[in-house]
């Protein structure tokens, strides 16, 4: 099973990279963009086959190291 973890700054925490990318898109004349957030994706190949167990384990990983929950949110997708 593969776990796809997306980590990004929390809503309300200024994302200066996102702002810079937004600015760059504006100067390239891509219109209609309300907001840009830049995050990171961590892809884990797991040996676990039980989805529930995998979710518990990956959540623990996110809380302990993959995300800094003071400033970041994370989402987990299992495929």
């Amino acid at each position: 099973m593969t776990a796809i973890v997306n980590v990004s700054l929390k809503a309300g925490v200024l994302d200066s990279q996102g702002k810079a990318v937004h600015h760059a898109l504006d100067s390239l004349q891509f219109n209609g963009i309300e907001d840009v957030r830049v995050g990171k994706q961590i892809v884990l190949k797991l040996t676990e086959t039980d989805k529930e167990k995998a979710m518990v384990e990956v959540t623990k990983m996110c809380e302990e190291i993959l995300a800094n929950t003071v400033i970041e949110d994370y989402t987990i997708e299992l495929v």
Binding site: L14, S16, Q17, I65, L66, N68, V70, I71
Partner: protein
């Protein structure tokens, strides 16, 4: 007075820190991150600056799981004095020994220059040689120095006088180089035994090299 200085793969300020404290008359020892205990005669533990583990994942994120960090947490929880400078500050916030977190600078650039800092609170061993409102000139050199804490956390810091230093101009008026919440450059924990700051006092020890204001800061620890 014995200063123990931590060294992770990627730390690069351990020898400057050692030199600075030896200049003040302290004895020092550099301890590799694989150590499982700290020298028993340690009076001050310094987590030195640099780029531990190449800043992979987040600055300080990997270092917090180094073998030595368990001993560091025990030492801090027993009231031992800990000082984190730059990457050391990032490590201490990641490890949960200090509140808040450090984000990428708002301007996205690495900033390396001398900066004025105002002493906000001196009712702690670190800054007791300085007066509240004093302005010191100390180098900063960081990419992730943008201190973040939520509103409730900031109110807590204010209420317990945990804000050590703010970025200012030479007149002590707020001037924020990196986007830090409330222009914060350094904080301590509630019990005032764990200190962290982004600027480098160990690089401001000789007036001929730009500033010796770091002496007044690090001197505070000599009473230990």
């Amino acid at each position: 007075m014995k200063v123990t200085i931590l060294q992770f793969p990627g730390t690069n300020c351990e020898y400057d820190t050692q030199h600075a404290f030896e200049q003040l008359g302290a004895t020092t020892e550099i301890v590799w991150h694989k150590a499982e205990s700290l020298p028993s005669d340690t009076n001050l533990l310094v987590v030195a600056g640099g780029f531990s583990y190449g800043d992979y994942l987040r600055s300080g994120a990997i270092a917090k799981f180094s073998p030595v960090m368990k001993a560091v947490t025990e030492y801090a929880n027993k009231g031992g004095k800990v000082l984190g400078i730059c990457n050391g500050f990032q490590v201490l916030t990641e490890a949960g020994l200090l509140p808040g977190a450090l984000k990428r600078n708002d301007g996205l650039h690495f900033i390396s220059k001398h900066h004025a800092l105002k002493v906000e609170n001196n009712d702690n061993i670190f800054l007791e040689k300085l007066e509240q409102g004093d302005v010191v000139n100390i180098p900063i050199a960081h990419h992730d120095g943008n201190y973040y804490i939520n509103e409730a956390g900031l109110a807590d810091l204010e209420a317990n006088s945990q804000i050590l230093l703010r970025y200012t101009n030479a007149n002590g008026e707020i001037k924020n180089p990196n986007g830090s919440v409330s222009s914060i450059a350094g904080v301590c924990n509630k019990s005032k035994n764990v200190f962290g700051l982004m600027p480098h006092p160990e690089r401001a020890m000789e007036s001929i090299l730009g500033s010796d204001d770091g002496v007044k800061m690090l001197e505070g620890f000599l009473a230990l």
